[in-house]
């Protein structure tokens, strides 16, 4: 009888769920707004996933939770930190050519860099969970000012010919700076390109130059942003890979850990 495992990634805005089978294939993914009731949303996600793939209770193995709210999700059997979850996730989601090195996770409200060795073991990690610069929040705020959506910022920025310099490090001040750039009639695409460069630089500042070896892999919601990927490639001067199902990398990793538990 085939067994299935579910991983839950409870962020502050979105709750992500992923289902994998015992081979490590990703069967299904789902995301919902967290809302006020974390636990309820999680339970609903699990039920919906099972329904969609017609998985019975007996077939369901471990349910593993990660993320900010991991300890309060009642439906989960156990919890694990996001660092470990993301490190496991890339075993499934990373493209085959990627040599284990650095995972750059750009989430909604935080960003992390996880350093792996050749065996996918976590060597070290850096986190920015104090300020919104370099996170999805930054992109959201700027997208709103420029009257576009978060899905469009990437493709639009690729069309830029002369990126602006965004100086402010803080989201609140960057907001004012962007407004003034708009008023001075700068092209939206150039502003977006500048924003992506600023984000990339911000995150790269967290990187430890001593941790070399392997390639860079993007995960998290920010990985869907082609503009951000381009900015990273430009600043780091090397190829940047993108994980499959990047927003669900944490959930997939959690599910994989659950799978190992049996």
């Amino acid at each position: 009888m085939k067994r299935y495992y579910i991983g839950l990634d409870g962020g502050s805005t979105y709750l992500k769920a992923a289902m994998i089978d015992e081979r490590g294939n990703v069967i299904d993914t789902m995301v919902r707004n967290t809302g006020i009731d974390n636990s309820g949303t999680a339970t609903a996600l699990v039920d919906t996933l099972c329904q969609r793939s017609q998985i019975t209770d007996r077939q369901l193995g471990y349910i593993m939770a990660t993320g900010y709210s991991r300890k309060v999700l009642d439906v989960a059997d156990d919890d694990i930190s996001e660092i470990t979850a993301h490190a496991y996730g890339v075993r499934i989601t990373a493209p085959p050519q990627w040599r284990p090195g650095m995972i750059v996770d750009v989430g909604g409200q935080d960003s992390k860099i996880i350093y792996l060795d050749a065996n996918y073991t976590v060597k070290n990690f850096s986190m920015n969970d104090k300020c919104a610069a370099g996170t999805g929040k930054f992109m959201e705020v700027i997208a709103q000012i420029l009257e576009t959506t978060i899905d469009q910022v990437g493709p639009l920025s690729l069309q830029s010919t002369d990126p602006c310099d965004i100086n402010s490090t803080c989201v609140v001040f960057a907001q004012s700076e962007v407004i003034s750039l708009v008023a001075r009639k700068y092209d939206r695409r150039d502003i977006l390109a500048g924003m992506h460069l600023s984000m990339a630089r911000r995150i790269i500042k967290m990187m430890r130059k001593s941790e070399k070896g392997g390639d860079v892999l993007m995960s998290g919601g920010g990985a869907l942003n082609v503009g951000l990927r381009q900015a990273f490639e430009e600043e780091l001067m090397q190829d940047v890979y993108v994980a499959a199902h990047p927003q669900f990398n944490g959930a997939i990793g959690a599910a994989l850990i659950g799978c190992e538990r049996g």
Binding site: D77, D78, S81, E82, V122
Partner: protein, 433 residues
């Protein structure tokens, strides 16, 4: 005008009252968290009581009326000299969050929180531990200590102790002169002369404390998981507020109990928990945030290389020559030579200390604790990281401040680090159930 002054005085009174209540609550919170960890022994009560007495009940250290207290601010001050002059030394480096929030406005913005907390207590004047001191001996080690020596002069007589940056023979000689000067000063304050007998008795007193500490550390080494590292650190911290003899005999009782439990294999946690060593900036009660987080996250703080914990007292005085000068000399060399404090220009010996501790305690991971603003410890992080890496021991740098607002961020890092070590050892076991 007098009326306005009276109003102002009342306002100040209420402010002090609020401060005292708030700091009391803060201390209680950490005492509760410490006890909630589990695994506390009856023999630890004398130490917890000492901490409670100072910070919750707001009383002075327990001492005879006639004995004066002398505040010290770094391990380089030999406590033996203070005992020899008939006074009681108290270590006044502070770990209090509430005092920190006051001191934050008084001293430099980027100063370390330890010194801000000292400034806070000085400013508010509510804690008898500080208020009743007859003398403050401040070693001039790092910049912050240097400036706090000047600041607290407003309230207390301050004797700066010049600690040399190097440890050559000439530096020892100079420091020895400074120790004689310190002895004069303390004698002057207490009115009691230092005799050979009083100095020898002081050495015997602290020697007794060191004997019990050596025993404690040996017990911890041979039988891990006998007690939580948080409790061990609290017990060692308590030595700041107890007479050395009282502390030593309480330690003796604790050691006896621990030995009994070791024989009966009564441990407080599983033996396979990740063995973590804490090193870096001082961890002073009630700032037990980091060891608590590590142990709540499923790790075990088996060793600490911090000056208010193990490292502060672990080097014994070795009297080589029986003359008075010989005893003084042995105090001088003990205070300087083996001290792996990063305020010395060349502190490469700290690496060997860490290596030995990794070996002794079978450490699996190191958490390098840096207080925000503590540059000297931060300087050494690279060196320590390289060394540990060459030994295959993972290490992360945790920076913290005297506030509860960074707890979640520290928690996620501690948990992830503990998991990293667990994963190295094998597939992860369950957290819940």
């Amino acid at each position: 005008m007098a009326y306005a002054d009276a109003i102002q005085e009342q306002r100040e009174q209420r402010r002090r009252q609020r401060f005292a209540t708030k700091s009391m609550h803060m201390t209680q919170k950490y005492l509760h968290r410490m006890r909630d960890l589990g695994g506390t022994l009856e023999q630890m009560e004398p130490f917890f009581n000492a901490l409670e007495r100072i910070y919750v009940q707001g009383l002075d250290v327990e001492r005879p009326r006639s004995t004066k207290t002398v505040g010290t601010y770094c391990v380089q001050v030999p406590q033996e000299l203070i005992y020899a002059a008939g006074a009681r030394p108290v270590k006044l480096c502070s770990g209090h969050y509430t005092a920190f929030s006051i001191g934050d406005d008084v001293v430099a913005r980027d100063a370390c929180p330890l010194v801000k907390a000292i400034a806070g207590f000085e400013h508010m004047g509510t804690l008898p531990l500080y208020e009743n001191c007859s003398l403050m001996v401040v070693p001039i080690t790092c910049d912050c200590k240097k400036r706090i020596a000047g600041l607290i002069k407003e309230k207390w007589p301050v004797h700066p102790l010049y600690v040399p940056a190097n440890r050559e023979d000439e530096d020892i000689e100079h420091y020895l002169d400074d120790l004689y000067q310190l002895m004069h000063m303390v004698s002057h304050v207490t009115g009691q002369d230092v005799t050979y007998e009083s100095l020898a008795n002081a050495l015997n007193l602290t020697g007794y404390a060191q004997y019990e500490l050596s025993r404690f550390l040996r017990i911890k080494r041979t039988t891990p998981n006998l007690l939580y590292g948080t409790h061990a650190m609290a017990v060692m911290n308590a030595s700041s507020y107890l007479d050395a003899g009282v502390w030593a005999s309480a330690m003796g009782a604790l050691n006896d109990e621990l030995e009994r439990r070791a024989r009966a294999n009564e441990l407080v946690s599983r033996k396979d928990l990740p063995r973590i060593m804490l090193t870096g900036s001082p961890i002073v009660f009630p700032n037990l945030k980091i060891p608590l987080l590590i142990e709540e996250a499923g790790g075990m703080v088996v060793a600490d290389e911090t000056c208010m914990g193990e490292r502060g007292m672990s080097d014994p005085v070795v009297p080589v020559d029986a003359s008075f000068d010989g005893l003084m000399r042995s105090l001088a060399i003990r205070s300087l030579r083996p001290c792996p404090c990063p305020t010395f220009a060349d502190n490469s010996q700290r690496i060997y200390r860490l290596r030995q501790m990794v070996r002794d305690y079978h450490v699996e991971g190191v958490i390098y604790h840096v207080l925000r603003g503590c540059l000297v410890y931060d300087y050494e992080f690279r060196l320590v990281e390289e060394e540990l890496e060459s030994m295959g021991i993972p290490v992360i740098r945790l920076e913290s401040d005297y506030t509860d607002q960074d707890v979640e961020q520290l928690r996620i890092r501690s948990e992830a680090f503990v998991e990293t070590i667990k994963l190295k050892k094998g597939p992860l076991k369950a957290n819940r159930g």
